[in-house]
Amino acid sequence: MGKAKRSGARRQVHKAPAGAFGGPAKANPNPFEVKVNRQKFQILGRKTRHDVGLPGVSRARAIRKRTQTLLKEYKERNKSNVFMDKRIGEYNSNISPEEKMMKRFALEQQRHHEKKNIYNLNEDEELTHYGQSLADIEKHNDIVDSDSDTEERGTLSAELTASHFGGGIHNTSQKEGEDGDKPKSRKELIEELIAKSKQEKRERQAQREDALELTEKLDQDWKEIQTLLSRKSQKSENKEKKEKPQPDAYDMMVRELGFEMKAQPSSRMKTEEELAKEEQERLKKLEAERLRRMLGKDEDENKKKPKHISADDLNDGFILDKDDRRLLSYKDGKMNIENVQEQQSKEAGGQESDQKEDEEEGEDESREDTEESDGSDSHSDLESNTESEEENEKPKKEQHQTPGGQLPSNGQKAPKAAGAELPYVFAAPESYEELRSLLSGRSTEEQLLVVERIQKCNHPSLAVGNKAKLEKLFGFLLQYIGDLATDSTPDFKTIDKLTVQLYNLCQMFPESASESIIFVLRDAMHEMEEMIETKGRALFPGLDVLIYLKITGLLFPTSDFWHPVVTPALMCMSQMLTKCPVLSLQDVIKGLFVCCLFLEYVSLSQRFIPELLNFLLGILYIATPNSKSQGSALVHPFRALGKNSELLVVSDKADVTTWQKGSLSLHWASRLSTVTATKANHIRLSCLASCLTLLKHCVLMYNGLPSFHAIFQPHQTLLTEHLVNCSLPQDLQDLSGSILSEMESQKQHCRPLICEKSKPVPLKLFTPRLVKVLEFGRKQGSTKEEQERKRLIHKHKREFKGAVREIRKDNQFLARMQLSEIMERDAERKRKVKQLFNSLATQEGEWKALKKKKFKK
């Protein structure tokens, strides 16, 4: 606390002597008192603050200050009461003695005048309203209404601000000036101000009113003259007239014609070769993109540039991602487009659809009409034309994409009769139940037609909400397919056909399609996970999940390094192969189907799947009698021993001979309860056959892997044991023999691993770092915050040092004072002692003298 006081005092001292002693110091520069700090080198641009000093003066100043503050404190250290002088202006030298007397007198008077009685109303008291004396208001009697206040726009006059918000130098000087004559009281001043500002306001208002009046008059005059000028210039009319004249019909026509599209020269018709070449190039490009994604190298680069969106884009999700403007082409001297139209009409289900389209077009036209009547823009009909064209062309596009291949049977054979019964227009189903009621009970062809018509009727270009409707349709269709698959007699034929529709929808709405696929996959995974958590293992999911997985593979590129839908689907399949124990022949078939899918997924990318090989090993294992296959390294979910460890072993040797090689039916995966023993044995053999073929695929696919032999070693041992077991049909034995030879022929290359060389870390260099010098005398090369920090640290250090010095000096001063006090006291004591001695000596002397006198006498 003392320190703070002192430092405050110090600051005072800086100013005070400048006023008091600055003058004499300058006036009398005693050369012996001046101390000069000589500099060794002159540096340009450096400001030196301490080159000349007056140590004597400043020391004297410091001592004086201390005697005024510290010494006082020291002397009063044991005193608790304080003497305060409350006389007005006793120490203020600015006030003249007369004024002092006046003030004292006024105070005295005021004390006398204090109100004695609160009921005494007659005392000279002023009544006020909002701080103004009522009497004054009566005098002015021109109250400006509150509305006029707004005209001031918040700016206050300089005088007002000056009087309200403090007195700067200017103010004081003014005051001093005014002090000469009669000083106005504050209240008076403010009143004056208010009056002044009000007057100003009134003046301004009057001025404006005048101006307004003048303008009006001018306008009036101009209108009179205007009639004379009206036919002269169109421009001036446009400018001046408030309401536009009705546009001329002719003008409109001219302008419309100007905006209308002119016939543009189209590019020349392409020959068939060119078309094929273009198609090939397109495919090549797509393939290259696929490869790039497969390698997953440039995931950052993967970000596609935003597609160009034409100004006409309705933003309805209908994307022309390929350049499918149809080019006219000839085939056998006939225009190709006709073919296409024929084809399309066939696909759509015969004449009926044509008619329907006519209807649609009719609708379109009517719509156009309404639009035209709106007159909003003349592009509408152009646009709708292109749209309908696109509609027509979509199926053609498909045809384009499969050169040489015919669409399998996309409703081509739809019987006319069936089509005739169906209504042409379908509302898009809002719920799954609606779709089901639409589709159930119809034949496959009819169902297809219905779905197709729903799509047609709700094409996104036709209405605003159609996009969402079709997006929903995808989800419903998926659910419908799932229902079909879980049925007791799965309708694979319909599913087969519906996948094409799904593909088309998916191409239109990739985002929502992927979302709905993810939804069903998540459902399946969740179900499995729940089962695993409760029982520790799961059952193979139903056929619907398998179908979903298959559809996923059809809709999305499975070779990508990472794909938002395919990668989770792979996880799902992996989970199935590792967590679901094989309990029955159905499980075997399902498992093999999943294996098949797995292999198909990676057929292009050639990736490694441990689960698949484990599963195939397990299948091989359950196809061998336990006594022979002991000791092979089995992996979960298969068990070396147990009731299912011989599931695929053929029970009757006779069935082996009657077995014919054939493919597995998916129907078996859903229900396989009522089969004869022979049939079951045949299915077993078929399963084994497909397992072996799959294994062969794997062997061929993975022969490039470095640890090929480590991977296939268990399969190899099992197969060699298997071969010994001669109860297999010849086909299978041949197959396993070929697998074995394939495995053995694979040379093992064990090239030692080498890390890629990493870039050597560069050595630290000692070349000086160049920094821009922005300001001399400051520490450079750091940010603004750092500089500020450094500055503050420096300042703190300096202040700290200064404070320490001050305290030290204070202590020295105090010690000096104490010493002088002690000295004084000692001197006093000495003096007193001397005095005593003196008096004693004189006494003694007197006494002796007396004695001598006596003695003399």
């Binding site: 994604r293 997953g296 970000k303 056909k497 969740h526 794909h563 093999l592 992996v635 470095p706 991977i711």
Partner: protein, 516 residues
């Protein structure tokens, strides 16, 4: 004395009887009627009876109206020429005994409410009897606890016939008290010993009950005076055994050793081993006594030896046990099933711990890395995501093993020198081999696995990757994580149009499957 109605089932009737017994000693014979209710068939009646008994004997115990001291035979006393009060007390004590016996029988009653009520009543008697002991103290501040009664309670819990797990969990709340815990441990030891000595084959339910009770006992870890008593004492003495944690530990150790020396069923083995390291070993007075049990468990093989490792490790680590074939045994445990068992996370956590020492020989670490890499060829992605960083961590810890991923001037070999069938890691020649398996796994179908395996292509970074978060990873979590990842652009689509469910002719599915 009034002749009482035989069917005293209703509550009012019982209340009246209770009043009669408690108010005048002349009507003491009504006790027989109350006790008769305990024999009833109806669980409601029994509960009512138990409550009445609880009230009756509770009051009598508090009033000290039961005979104190070693109990003489009933008929001799009644025939003898003692005071009437004395006779009454002896007689009443006999009724009390028969009531307790019946309650013990009720502990195995089919109805859980009855069981629970009987247990509560018995524990109330234990508390009251402990407060006003029924035996004379032999010396000043002699610690008295109703052992006989308590033994019958614990005996009722540990029965070979029924599954008492619910009742035992009810009993657990009493185990909070230090004296109850101490005596439970003592009584359980003797009960288990008696049960196993009486018959050679002990049923599974008995073991389960016993394990349930034993595992419920947990001792405090810090040394302090155990004074949280169920039976309130006016003053405690330092001489009592029950006060010292050391004694508790001794009892605890005796109890477990007595339990574990028998041949336990396999499932119980696992349960014991799971809790061994954190709830049994730290509380034993001499943990080294567990060595025999753990080493024999370690030799069983499979999941059991895997679990035994944990306890064994803490013995090696904290109690200076020498176990020479430890690492060889651990090496032997590595087989393909390791990635599929329930204790996967625990095992790899431990393996990480065991192999964390930097003083292990390089050949050993190399053998482990190579074996794990070999096994990774059959592992599902969730395990791969954990084991690949694990292997890399091994290589990071032991720079001498880095030759397995970086051998610049090595000759090209015709076969992998590593011998997967060799049981001794020292002779497996892993250090001469390379981790080609990781190179294979770079082709894995899951992008993250592929990325994790590609780490070895570069020089391994110095800081280890923490695998703690990866230990519990499941396929479902990976699946969810994959779904949550968002792509920047749109979803890439297949450009080859679909033609049907099975695809084109040359597709695999179309080759093997038909829709008909």
């Amino acid at each position: 004395m009034d002749p009482l109605p035989a069917s005293a089932g209703s509550r009012g009737e019982l209340g009246r009887l209770l009043q009669a017994v408690l108010t005048s000693r002349g009507q003491a014979n009504a006790v027989f009627d109350i006790l008769a209710v305990l024999q009833s068939e109806d669980p409601e009646d029994i509960q009512e009876g138990v409550r009445t008994c609880s009230r009756l004997f509770g009051t009598l115990l508090e009033r000290e109206e039961l005979f104190v001291g070693s109990l003489p035979r009933e008929d001799t006393v009644l025939a003898g020429s003692q005071e009437a009060t004395q006779k009454y007390k002896v007689w009443m004590r006999h009724r009390y005994h028969s009531c307790c016996n019946r309650l013990e029988e009720l502990l195995s009653h089919p109805s859980f409410q009855v069981k629970e009520l009987a247990l509560k009543t018995l524990m109330k008697f234990v508390q009251l009897e402990g407060g006003k002991p029924l035996e004379k103290p032999q010396w000043e501040s002699h610690y008295l606890f109703p052992r006989t009664l308590f033994r019958s309670v614990v005996g009722g819990l540990l029965i070979p016939e029924d599954d008492q797990s619910l009742l035992i969990s009810q009993f657990c709340e009493y185990l909070e008290y230090d004296d109850i815990r101490y005596h439970t441990m003592q009584v359980a030891t003797s009960t288990v010993a008696r049960a196993t000595s009486q018959q050679p084959e002990v049923s599974l339910t008995f073991w389960n009950n016993a394990f349930m009770l034993l595992s419920a006992v947990s001792l405090p870890l810090q040394e302090r005076d155990l004074t949280n008593f169920y039976v309130q004492h006016a003053e405690t003495s330092d001489k009592w055994k029950v006060i010292h944690l050391k004694e508790h530990r001794k009892a605890f150790q005796e109890m477990w050793l007595g339990f574990l020396k028998h041949k336990l069923p396999l499932s119980l083995y696992k349960k014991v081993l799971v809790t061994m390291h954190d709830s049994i070993l730290p509380h034993l007075a001499q943990p080294t006594l567990m060595i025999d049990f753990l080493t024999s468990a370690c030799d069983v093989g499979g999941a059991i030896s895997l679990l035994a490792l944990n306890g064994l490790f803490s013995l090696v680590h904290k109690h200076n046990l020498e176990y020479p074939d430890f690492y060889q045994k651990l090496y032997g445990l590595l087989d393909p099933s390791i990635f599929h068992v329930k204790y996967r996370a625990r095992f790899f956590h431990l393996a990480d711990l065991f192999l964390s020492s930097s003083h292990l020989p390089a050949y050993l670490v190399a053998a482990f890395a190579k074996r794990l890499a070999r096994l990774a060829l059959t592992a599902p992605p969730e395990a791969l995501l954990m084991v690949l960083p694990f292997i890399c961590n091994l290589l990071r810890r032991h720079p001498a093993c880095r030759v397995m991923v970086h051998r610049p001037q090595g000759p090209e070999l015709s076969a992998d020198p590593y011998d997967p069938l060799e049981k001794d890691p020292a002779r497996s020649q892993a250090l001469e081999s390379c981790l080609w398996e990781l190179q294979t796994l770079q082709q894995h179908y899951h992008p993250e696995v592929s990325r994790a395996a590609s780490v070895i292509n570069q020089v391994l970074s110095d800081p280890e990757v923490s695998i703690a978060s990866l230990l519990e990873l499941t396929a479902y979590e990976i699946f969810e994580r994959d779904l949550k990842k968002k792509t920047a652009g749109s979803v890439p689509l297949e450009f080859i149009p679909a033609k049907g469910l099975l695809g084109r002719q040359d597709d695999l599915c179309a080759q093997f499957f038909t829709l008909s």
